[in-house]
């Protein structure tokens, strides 16, 4: 059954009861709070061995030799494995991760262990398997790697200059892909524009840094001929596909389970080399093997994002209306391409945001470098694009002496144009179309909620105390609910228990609660009576998992449609069993009752038993067997969430420290299933965005050596430095799906960098400082302030 045909069906209110839209407690919480969850490292199997990787200490080198003798001699070591040891188990030299994209010039796929050329510090070279992790770590330290150092590429601009060294010797040059996004008559607009200016923006590397690192356990059971892989992943079905292909297994020989997963934020959606190396080693040694990432590895061996240089020029008229944007983006793609090339594309297409932009011509060059590979982190390129647009709008306001809210108001897409077809053609050839929303009203509500107009008084009052206070504003959209599908099945057996299985995969979002809540709303039961299994390829044959803020839209609608289908069938069967017309029946408390005759009823268990069949007897009403339904819901298009953020920040001009005092969000993700969880997603996203603006910086030196390797160097925001975040909701239902929902998990991160920088610039208004980089750590802000102060003196 496809959801497509039902795309515009509306939700009947008597069905949903009041459960949809209510902040019901999460079904996940109790085990997590009692310490009873089972994360990867909590799983202990009989005979399990422990693995540690020896990784490249060079950013680029030919590996002339690896001496493993001393490591192998350590008591308790079972094996020290190199590429040559694992290659016989594999069907291909590299891990087949290339995604079809027209922009790709050549693929640079990763290997499970380095064979001859190491391309970044942290790339795995050898795998030590031992009785315990401590022994494996001791042994790994004894492995001698003979490096023949090669020149390195560490800058995505310089790496594309003629004569630049190659980041990988197996690629013809460093330009792995190039995107051009172009529409409108850019040259004419620039030729006739009242105003233009150009600007360079730089964003540095950062990442997901979930508190639970990555981890894998692989066990081959010869009796069942089954390889089971417990994998801390956002995408177990994708992982299974890659493993099947690479290890040459058939589908029935492999099961991938994502158990409790301690945060994802993007990096766990990506297939990493360890996901082949550990299962291959378990097949080779015929022992269960666990690998749990060390925190240093999460800085050197887990994908990161964000590093881009944007050289852009904007044209606008005397009223501040945007005319066109043109320019070039240099995107650091790291040492290989594990997850396609969509990040700068997302950045460009998200840059236009909620605004009318008549013409655009941007070229993104994706450069291979000798740094950790690049793949999506919360926001996936979009925070960069939004940052560029919002910074330019602030500068336009300053140029024309307009207020920042006014310049935005003049450019926002009017609500009567919804659904709004942007001029952008997407990767699949369709037109990027905003499905619903009222952007001017969203900004208006945010200005009111944050008392924007009253800010000048607060600024003056703070100034009297010698404190520099500023306010910032930013708008954004986020494409959510990416397809092509998600699968959810609902099954009720003789126990009467409602089982939901889904290709959705949770890392803390509350996905189980969301699915249980939707199913429960249809059956008229409490969500805790619904059992949800997610993230298990044995429970759901097809699935895509967690990325692109998609699971409420895709798996949620699938669950809702499947539940409706099961409910209809239960009523049809009960009508036969009770000999009443189906329209006289109602579904309440998990029972099918004859309206007005409370004693005449059938429980879901009775209906399920009847549909379970008895040998030789017909099924009631000649129905198909089983009280179950499965839906592979295919969204008709992306659903576009939008929001406005306003922040007030205090800048200490001596230290360069920034303290955010107030933070207001008006957020519109369509109809909300569980507002409490939506707010949790938005807040977490905002704080991630604050982190990437004020605290988080992954440093590398010119030789490609990471200089950041602990959470004491890479600062995640802490409870004492983040503000309260006040969230207000608008609910513009999406016309594209039956529930009217949109995604919410990344939007906070998209708006936060822009609004925080806007507030900092505003606090330093007399200096006319322009901040065009992320992050802006205290020392850097102090340097910018000093430079501006000197310039002001000389002026």
């Amino acid at each position: 059954m496809s959801g497509k045909s039902l795309g515009t069906a509306s939700l009947s209110p008597e069905r949903s009861g009041e459960l949809i839209g209510s902040s019901v407690p999460r079904v996940e919480d109790t085990r997590l709070l009692r310490g009873e969850a089972r994360f990867i490292d909590d799983i202990v199997l009989p005979d399990m061995l422990h693995a540690v990787f020896a990784r490249s200490r060079s950013a680029h080198a030919r590996i002339k030799g690896v001496d493993t003798a001393a490591a192998k001699a350590v008591p308790g070591v079972h094996a020290v494995l190199l590429y040559a040891d694992l290659r016989p188990l594999l069907t291909c030299d590299r891990i087949p991760l290339a995604l079809a994209a027209a922009a790709v010039k050549f693929d640079a796929e990763p290997v499970c262990l380095v064979n001859d050329e190491a391309c970044y510090v942290g790339e795995p070279i050898a795998l030590v398997v031992a009785d315990n992790r401590r022994i494996a770590e001791d042994a790994a330290a004894l492995i001698e790697v003979d490096y023949d150092e090669l020149p390195v590429v560490t800058d995505p601009h310089d790496g594309l200059l003629p004569g630049a060294p190659r980041a990988r010797l197996d690629c013809p040059d460093n330009l792995t892909a190039e995107h051009v996004v172009k529409y409108g008559d850019v040259d004419r607009i620039f030729g006739t524009a009242a105003h233009t200016f150009s600007e360079q923006f730089r964003m540095e590397k950062g990442g997901g840094f979930s508190i639970e690192p990555r981890g894998i356990i692989a066990r081959y059971d010869a009796v069942e001929d089954l390889l089971t892989v417990w994998n801390g992943t956002q995408t177990p079905h994708r992982a299974k596909t890659v493993m099947v292909q690479t290890l040459g297994l058939a589908e029935h020989q492999l099961r991938v389970i994502a158990p409790d997963v301690g945060g994802g934020f993007g990096p766990k959606a990506v297939f990493h080399p360890e996901e082949i190396a550990i299962p291959a080693a378990a097949l080779l040694l015929r022992r269960p093997i666990k690998w749990f990432e060390d925190r240093l590895e999460s800085f050197t061996a887990t994908v990161q994002e964000r590093r881009q240089i944007w050289n852009v020029e904007v044209a606008f008229d005397a009223a501040g209306k945007l005319g066109g944007i043109r320019g070039r983006i240099y995107h650091d793609h790291g040492a290989n391409v594990p997850y396609g090339v969509a990040l700068p594309y997302n950045g460009i297409t998200n840059m236009i945001g909620p605004y009318v932009l008549p013409a655009l011509h941007l070229t993104a060059s994706l450069c291979l470098t000798n740094m950790v590979p690049v793949a999506p982190t919360r926001g996936a390129g979009r925070p960069q694009g939004t940052f560029v647009m919002e910074r330019m709008l602030d500068r336009i306001a300053r140029t024309l002496d307009l207020t920042r809210d006014e310049v935005r108001r003049r450019n926002l897409i009017p609500p009567e144009q919804m659904p709004y077809a942007t001029p952008i053609k997407q990767r699949d050839g369709s037109v990027m179309t905003y499905d619903s929303g009222d952007y001017p009203q969203c900004q208006r509500r945010a200005l009111a909620a944050a008392d924007w107009n009253g800010f000048e008084e607060r600024r003056v009052a703070a100034l009297r105390e010698g404190r520099l206070l500023g306010i910032g504003l930013a708008n954004y959209v986020e494409g959510t609910g990416r397809g092509p599908f998600e699968s959810t099945a609902i099954r009720i057996g003789a126990s009467g228990q409602i089982f939901v299985t889904s290709g959705a995969t949770a890392q803390g979002q509350g996905t189980k609660t969301m699915l249980a809540q939707l199913a429960a709303s249809v059956f008229g039961v409490s969500p805790d009576r619904v059992h949800v299994t997610d993230g298990d390829t044995a429970a759901t044959p097809l699935g895509l998992g967690a990325f692109a803020s998609r699971q409420a839209v895709t798996a949620g609608n699938a669950a809702y449609l499947a539940a409706q289908s099961v409910a209809e069938k239960a009523k049809a069967v009960a009508s036969v069993m009770l000999e009443v017309a189906p329209e006289d029946l109602e579904l309440k408390d998990g029972e099918i009752r004859v309206a007005g005759v409370p004693k005449l009823k059938k429980s879901l268990a009775e209906v399920a038993r009847a549909l379970g069949g008895l040998p030789g007897f017909a099924l009631p009403g000649n129905m198909d067997p089983g009280l179950a339904a499965a839906v592979d819901y295919q969204p008709m298009g992306m659903t576009y969430t939008n929001g406005t953020h306003i922040a007030e920040a205090e800048v200490n001009p001596i230290s360069g420290a920034v303290k955010i005092h107030r933070y207001t969000v008006v957020h519109d993700c369509g109809r909300m299933i569980n507002p409490m969880m939506v707010e949790g997603q938005v807040r977490g996203g905002v704080v991630h965005g604050i982190g990437m603006t004020l605290f988080e910086l992954m440093r590398f030196d010119d030789s490609g050596q990471p200089l950041t390797g602990t959470l004491a160097d890479y600062l995640l925001p802490t409870a004492d430095v983040v503000p309260r975040i006040d969230i207000h909701h608008m609910e513009s239902p999406s016309p594209l799906n039956p529930l009217g929902v949109k995604g919410a998990a990344e939007s906070g991160t998209i708006g936060a960098p822009s609004v925080v920088i806007s507030a900092i610039e505003d606090a330093l208004r007399p200096l006319e400082l322009r901040i065009t980089e992320l992050p802006i750590l205290p020392a850097r802000l102090r340097a910018l302030i000093r430079t501006a102060q000197k310039a002001a003196k000389h002026a």
């Binding site: 310490g35 490292d41 979930s210 639970e212 945060g263 602990t710 959470l711 802490t718 409870a719 004492d720």
Partner: protein, 166 residues
């Protein structure tokens, strides 16, 4: 490798074990006693996921050797809920205020708040004090607000007006 015989009281029960000198307390709890509720997030003493109480005071169990806990009293997340499974008020408040998402940092957060609750007694806590107490526990999911609300809900309230001052 030298080994040591140690006796540690964990969640009210005495355990005698012979351990390697280098075994840290978190590994001891998780591997020797199968108390896997104490999570390891960095082993650098930064993230706070492994926070336990040693003689009533919060400690990073990844930075403390098992031998250093010899003769001492350790409390872990497994001791916080009632024996019948009923959640402690701090745990219940965290759920009510959505102070947890993935739950990986949660045991450390609970132990930090438990210490705070015992320390503050009847003294009212401000939001700023609660945020300072929680600043040793990294969370990537929640943005901390739910945790702070939970603590404000359970701990003695400061006078009105104090609450919104961060």
């Amino acid at each position: 490798m030298s080994t040591h015989e140690i006796t540690i009281t964990v969640n009210g029960k005495e355990h005698k074990r012979t351990v390697d000198s280098r075994l840290h307390l978190a590994d001891f709890l998780r591997q020797e006693l199968s108390l896997t509720g104490t999570h390891i997030g960095c082993e650098h003493g930064v993230c706070g996921a492994c926070t336990v109480l040693v003689d009533g005071a919060s400690a990073r169990s990844c930075l403390m050797l098992a031998v250093q806990a010899d003769g001492r009293r350790v409390e872990t997340i497994e001791s916080v809920a009632a024996p019948d499974g009923a959640l402690h008020p701090i745990q219940a408040a965290l759920s009510r205020h959505h102070g947890l998402q993935c739950g990986y940092c949660t045991p450390g957060v609970v132990m930090t708040l438990l210490e705070l609750q015992r320390e503050c007694g009847d003294t009212p806590m401000t939001e700023a004090e609660i945020r300072r107490a929680l600043s040793g526990n990294l969370c990537r999911c929640t943005g901390y607000q739910g945790m702070v609300e939970a603590a404000l809900d359970v701990l003695p309230r400061a006078a009105a007006g104090e609450r919104t001052k961060a």
